[in-house]
Each structure stands twice: as C-alpha cells, then as structure tokens.
C-alpha cells in the first residue's frame, strides 16, 4: 500500500516537474520578457493584421497539407512497391531541412529560373511565378505534407487487417468502405495532424518571408522580430508571444473537442494483404508519383547543387558536425525523458487529463524562439553568464520543439501497454523495476525509436536559440550554413546543407531502425 502511494506521488512529481519545465520555458519566458519591458505592450493595427495573416496562412497550409496527405497516405497504405520504405523514410526529410535550404531547393524547381519555368519558356509560355501567397503555401505544403502523410499513414496501419477483410467480405461499396474504415480512421488522426501542422505554420517565420515576403505577408513572428530589433519594445514582444500561445490554445481545444475513438485492443500486427490494391492502382500511383516528385525534385536539386562542393568544405565542418550531433543527442535524451515522464504520469488518467498533458506539450511548438531565448537570457543573466549554458539551453529548447511529436507517439503506446499487461503484472507480482525494464520499455521500443529519431533530426536541422547565446566556440551545422551564406559562400553553404540532410536522415534512420530491430515488438 505504502509502495503504491509512493509510486503515485513519484508519478505526480515526475509529471509535475515536466509540466513546470514546459511552463517555465514557454509562458515563463514571455513573462520574463514582459517584466523587463515593464508590462505588456498594446497591439497596434499592424499587429492585428499580422495576427490575421498568420492565422489565414496557417489554416490554409494545414488544411491543404492534410487534405493532400489523405490520398497520398491511402495510396502508400494500399500499394506495395519497390522503394516504398525508402520513400516513407524520405518523407521525414523536408521536415528537418533548414528552411532556407528547402526554399532554395523549391526555387530550383518552381522558381523563375527553375526547371518548370525553363520548360515553360522553352515551349513558349510565360515563366512560372510563385512569389506571394502561392509561394507561402507551396513552401508550407512542401515542408508539412510529408509530416501529415506520415501521421495519416500511421493511422492506416493501426487498422487491424481483419477489419479490411470484414469489409471486403461484405461486398461493401466505396461509400460503405469509407464509412466503415476511413471515416473513423480520419476522424481520429486528421485533427491531430491538422493541429500540429497548423502550429508549425503559425510560428514559421522564414518560410513565409523567403517566398511570400513583403508587408502583405507579415506574420506574428515577424512582428515579434520587429518589436525586438527595431523598437526594442519588450512589452509588445511579450504581448505578441502571449497572443501566439492563446491562438495555439484555442486551436488545441478545438482539435481535441472532436471525440477520439477508442482502440479495442491491438491488431495482429501483420501487414494487411490488401486485395483492393489492384483496383486502385492507377489513382494510387498517380498520387505516389506526384507526391514523390514534389518531394524528391527539390531535394535532388539541393543534392546536385551541394554535392560537388563537399570536397571544398573547410575543416570546421567536422567540429560543427560533432557539435550538432552532440546537441541532437542531448536534446533527444531530454525530449524522450520528458515525453516518457508525461506519458507515465498521464497515460492512465482520463481523456481530459491526457488531452491536457498533450496540450501542454504543444506549448513548446507555440513558442517564438526569439522570446524564449530572450526570456531565458533574462532569467539567467542576474545569476550567471548565459553563454555558459548555451549548450544545455539549446538542447532543451530543441527538445521542447520535438516534444509534441514524441508525445503523440508515446502516450497511446504507454496506455495500450498498461491496458494489455497490467493484469499480468499484478498476477505475476512483478517489481516496478522488472515491469519498467522488461515489459514497458521493450514494448515501447518501436514508438520510442521513432520519437527519438524525430527529436534528433529536428534538433539537427534547427538553428535554434544557439545563435542568440553566441558562444564563439559552439558552431552547429545550420549556424555554419548561415555563416557561409553570409560570407557569400553559397556553394559551400549548399554542400553543408547536403552534409546536414545526410546526417539528420542518418540519425533518424538509426533511431527508427533501433526501434524496429527487436523482433518481439509489434
């Protein structure tokens, strides 16, 4: 009995500590900035129009990404073909690309001097111009469609194969098939996927500017930038940061209002042999080809651009690589510990508590790097030199950015493991250690691997707050890339981009592979 109470108290402390850390990093930093700025600043007309534009573009981008992801994920779930696994792994790439690299890749294909424009000019048509709203959306879909597709694909593979067979044996019409299989599946995955993409677009700054820039395309993040740099109006920066939190909060509540369906146990986990594959081959391969081309062509352009210059890279690329990898690994440890802590504390609570915990996890995405960096700076500065903490802070902030993704994957897995094996644990009277070590963690190996891979890759590609803390001895790959560009060395910057992408994908692949390696895991 006492043991049980201690366990519960431990869990509360663990979960509470993670939540407190999240609050400190997100809202705490905004409060620190507001305090320094002597209170919150009033928002002007321009700020409100920035808020409107931000909402508009985020809604549109998330809506488009998720809508297009549906047929793509369906096609990938249904068809088996050579290179399917490679394509799915590649789906992770745009998500971890430094924005400027992705944008230059996109422009190589869709830009005024891009491949499509070349073809158009050659055939006598006008050049393609994607600048402005189309560019913003194109870039957001490029960066987020793969993520949405992966989330939906996960939803599809979670449907037990028996259920497909039941529907087939009923000679169901396409409409009935949709009602019986796809509608409940989409209802459970789409709101979450939409939410995450929406949040990513809400706080994106560089994307919106590089291809859709100008006064029309002012985002909240840019307004924060302006408040800081031009006006040094910390109060206004804090107000804008809080507006961003509020927006994220509202969207989070809306997304979770849609009831999440229950899982009724685990499927048998075998790859469903889909008899319906042949009937849809034409449409499916059209979607697969389009999305693969949309993904691979810009990535290929980056590769072509940078590959030839790798040999000319200065030796700093080695230390920068090592620094980036170290930060990524540290950030992965922090992220996974936080996600596990929250999952263990909340997975067995009710739906509301679980949603609350996930909602809190999302705070990390809603932060403006500028406000977080400045807030942490202000909190540390009275006591110590902030530069000393550049590495742990960068790792923690990167971890916070990856947390919502890790939670999405881990929370249900922890819940299912408890549901499936709790009775076994009680009946065998397993000690807490054996339970954790021999049952829970091995069972979680696959989601853990995937989450760790995401966290590591995300951290690799993020410029993060490291630029704000400016430790002269710490140079990450993204920082090196920006510095090379800033010194006119675009070719070498492109080569660094190739190194960065290769390393990120390798890290992701290693973690994800490690998670799958265990034969007994589903």
């Amino acid at each position: 009995m006492a043991d049980r109470i201690i366990a519960i108290i431990l869990r509360i402390i663990l979960g509470g500590a993670v939540l407190a850390a999240l609050l400190l990093f997100s809202i705490g930093t905004a409060v620190a900035v507001a305090t320094q700025g002597l209170g919150l600043g009033r928002l002007g007309v321009a700020d409100w129009s920035a808020i409107r534009f931000t909402l508009w573009q985020a809604c549109l981008s998330a809506g488009l990404s998720v809508t297009i992801a549906i047929p793509v994920a369906r096609a990938l779930a249904r068809q088996n073909f050579l290179g399917r696994q490679a394509l799915i792994t590649l789906l992770g790439a745009p998500f971890i690309l430094p924005v400027i690299v992705g944008v230059l890749g996109l422009l190589a294909v869709f830009g005024r001097a891009g491949w499509i424009s070349d073809v158009l000019t050659w055939t006598g048509f006008a050049k393609l111009s994607i600048y402005g709203a189309p560019g913003v959306i194109l870039a957001h879909v490029f960066f987020n469609l793969p993520l949405a597709t992966r989330f939906l694909l996960q939803g599809w593979s979670a449907v037990p194969s028996e259920r497909f067979r039941v529907v087939q044996s009923l000679a169901a019409s396409p409409w009935a098939y949709f009602r019986l299989i796809e509608w409940p599946l989409l209802k459970s995955v789409v709101p979450g996927a939409f939410l995450l993409v929406f949040l990513l677009c809400l706080t994106s700054f560089a994307v919106a500017l590089a291809v859709g820039g100008g006064p029309r395309g002012t985002t909240i993040e840019l307004a924060i930038y302006q408040a800081f740099r031009l006006d040094f109006d910390l109060g206004k920066a804090a107000s804008l940061a809080l507006v961003q939190f509020t927006l994220c909060g509202v969207v989070a509540v809306m997304a979770f209002l849609v009831p999440l369906p229950q899982t009724d146990g685990l499927g048998l986990g075998r790859l469903p042999q889909r008899l319906d594959a042949s009937g849809h081959r034409g449409v499916d391969f059209m979607w697969i080809t389009i999305s693969a081309a949309f993904l691979i062509l810009p990535l290929g352009a980056i590769l072509i651009r940078g590959l030839g210059h790798i040999a000319s890279l200065p030796h700093q690329v080695f230390t920068a690589s090592i620094t980036s990898v170290l930060i990524a690994l540290a950030s992965t440890v922090v992220c996974i510990s936080m996600a596990l802590g929250l999952s263990l504390a909340f997975a067995r609570r009710g739906q509301v508590a679980r949603n609350l915990a996930e909602g809190m996890g999302i705070l990390g995405l809603a932060t403006s790097p500028l406000v977080v960096g400045t807030g942490i700076f202000l909190m540390i500065f009275p006591f110590a030199h902030p530069m000393t903490f550049a590495l742990p802070i960068t790792a923690s902030v990167n971890a916070m950015m990856a947390l919502p993704f890790a939670l999405r994957v881990l929370m249900p897995a922890v819940r299912e493991t408890y549901a499936d094996y709790l009775t076994l644990r009680c009946s065998l009277n397993l000690t807490r250690w054996v339970w954790l070590h021999r049952i829970l963690l091995p069972r979680l190996r696959r989601p853990l691997g995937f989450a760790a891979g995401l966290a590591a890759a995300l951290s690799m590609g993020d410029l993060g707050v490291i630029a704000l803390f400016a430790d002269p001895d710490l140079q990450t790959l993204p920082l090196m890339l920006y510095r090379l560009m800033g010194a006119y060395r675009m070719d070498q910057a492109a080569a660094v981009a190739v190194v960065l992408v290769a390393q990120s994908l390798a890290l992701f692949w290693m973690f994800d592979r490690g998670g799958r390696g265990y034969a007994g895991s589903p």
Partner: protein, 232 residues
C-alpha cells in the same frame, strides 16, 4: 458441396495445398498445429488469399474472385465489430453495408438480435459489451446474412468454458435455421468434438481430406498425435 480442386494458397513464402471435398451441410473442425496453415486455409476459401493454381468450387461452380461475392460469411477471433458503430448497425452491415435499410430489413436485423439474445443492446457500442456479447453480435450478423457457407476462425477461443459453450449453442441454432455448411478453426479438441462431425487436419502446408472426427481422434496420424500430446 465445397470442392477444392488441387488448390495452392500462397501467402508470402508460405504455400498450402488442398485437394478435398466437403459435403453440403457438414460441420467441419479445422485442426492442426499452430503455423500449420489453418487460418490460411480459411482465408483462402474466403478469397482473401490468391490461389496459385487449382479451383475452389461451390455447388460445381467456380467461386467468384471477390470475397464479397462468395456465398459465405466469415468470423475472426478479433475485430469483427466496428467500434464506431452501435450493435444494430454492426449487424445491419451484414446485409446493407451502406446502412440504408428498408422496413423489412430492419425487422430482420431485430429478429437476428433477438435470436442471439441481444435485443436490448441494439443501441449499445462494442466497447460497452462483454466479450461474450461481442461474439453474439458477430453471430447475429452471420445469421442475418443467410449465406450457405460459414467460416469461423477461432471466434470463441478467448472466452471462458461456460461462455464458449453458450456460443456454440447459439451457433448450433443458427446452423439449424440456415442448414449452412460450417468450417471452424479451433485448437481445442473438446470444442471440435462438441461442434463438428468431420475434421480436416492442416499440417506442414497440406490440408487433408475431411474424416469423421471420432475416427480421426481415435487413430491420429503422427502430425496430429504430436499436436494433441497426451489428450485422450
């Protein structure tokens, strides 16, 4: 008559051969060691698995390719029910997957639920039902469909002895009403004896011709003897 004429079912690297006849109205237990191909056998007949050669015939006619057009109903161990549909709809999709039912069809659904003793649960959702009740919903769907061939893939193996007996009772009633031919995979010899009059042994990639069940158990071939162990 269900005839499997020199059929090869292929699932990945695994191939199962069958060359056998099952008379109409037979109740057949499909037994054999795990991994021997019992589920492949049923899924093959249901049309979920491609045939490499040979023919599956029903009453002398080749079965259509699409599983939905075959004259049969199938029940799995899990996931027969859709968690987002209530009991009524879960049964109704058996005759109208679009869930657009005429008055007569609604009557039929109610009658089927009545038959399995679930008339008061028609508005409940699967998550609110016990394991036994979930099994009955599946059986009600089978009953409603009125197909002449029933395939059951260990549908009751997760239930306790008393519940299992109850389910077998319901199944017997359904067979009585529909005079259907039934094939049931089971790993429990007791269930096999209680339900079936014939048995098919599936082992080492081959489904043998059906034999009277008692006869098979009295003089088990080596593969069956190894599987049964000391059961007598």
């Amino acid at each position: 008559m269900l005839a499997l004429h020199k059929v090869q079912f292929r699932q990945g690297d695994f191939t199962l051969g069958a060359d056998l006849l099952i008379p109409t109205g037979a109740r057949v237990a499909v037994i054999g060691p795990s991994g021997g191909g019992k589920s492949t056998f049923l899924n093959g007949i249901a049309g979920f698995i491609a045939t490499d050669g040979g023919q599956v015939l029903w009453q002398g006619q080749p079965m259509p390719d699409h599983p939905g057009l075959r004259p049969l109903s199938i029940l799995f161990q899990d996931h027969n029910l859709f968690p987002h549909l209530n009991v009524m709809d879960n049964v109704a999709i058996g005759i109208s997957p679009d869930m657009r039912l005429s008055q007569t069809q609604k009557q039929q659904v109610r009658a089927a639920l009545d038959q399995v003793g679930l008339s008061d649960k028609s508005a409940s959702y699967p998550r609110d039902l016990s394991g036994g009740q979930q099994g009955r919903v599946g059986l009600a769907r089978m009953l409603l469909r009125q197909r002449p061939l029933l395939l059951l893939d260990e549908p009751f193996s997760a239930l306790g002895p008393a519940l299992k007996d109850e389910m077998l009772d319901v199944l017997r009633q359904i067979l009585h009403v529909t005079s259907a031919t039934a094939l049931m995979v089971t790993h429990d010899p007791k269930d096999a004896l209680a339900f079936a009059n014939q048995a098919i042994l599936v082992a080492d990639g081959v489904a043998m011709a059906p034999q009277p069940i008692q006869q098979l158990f009295d003089a088990p071939p080596p593969a069956l003897r190894a599987y049964l162990g000391h059961w007598t």
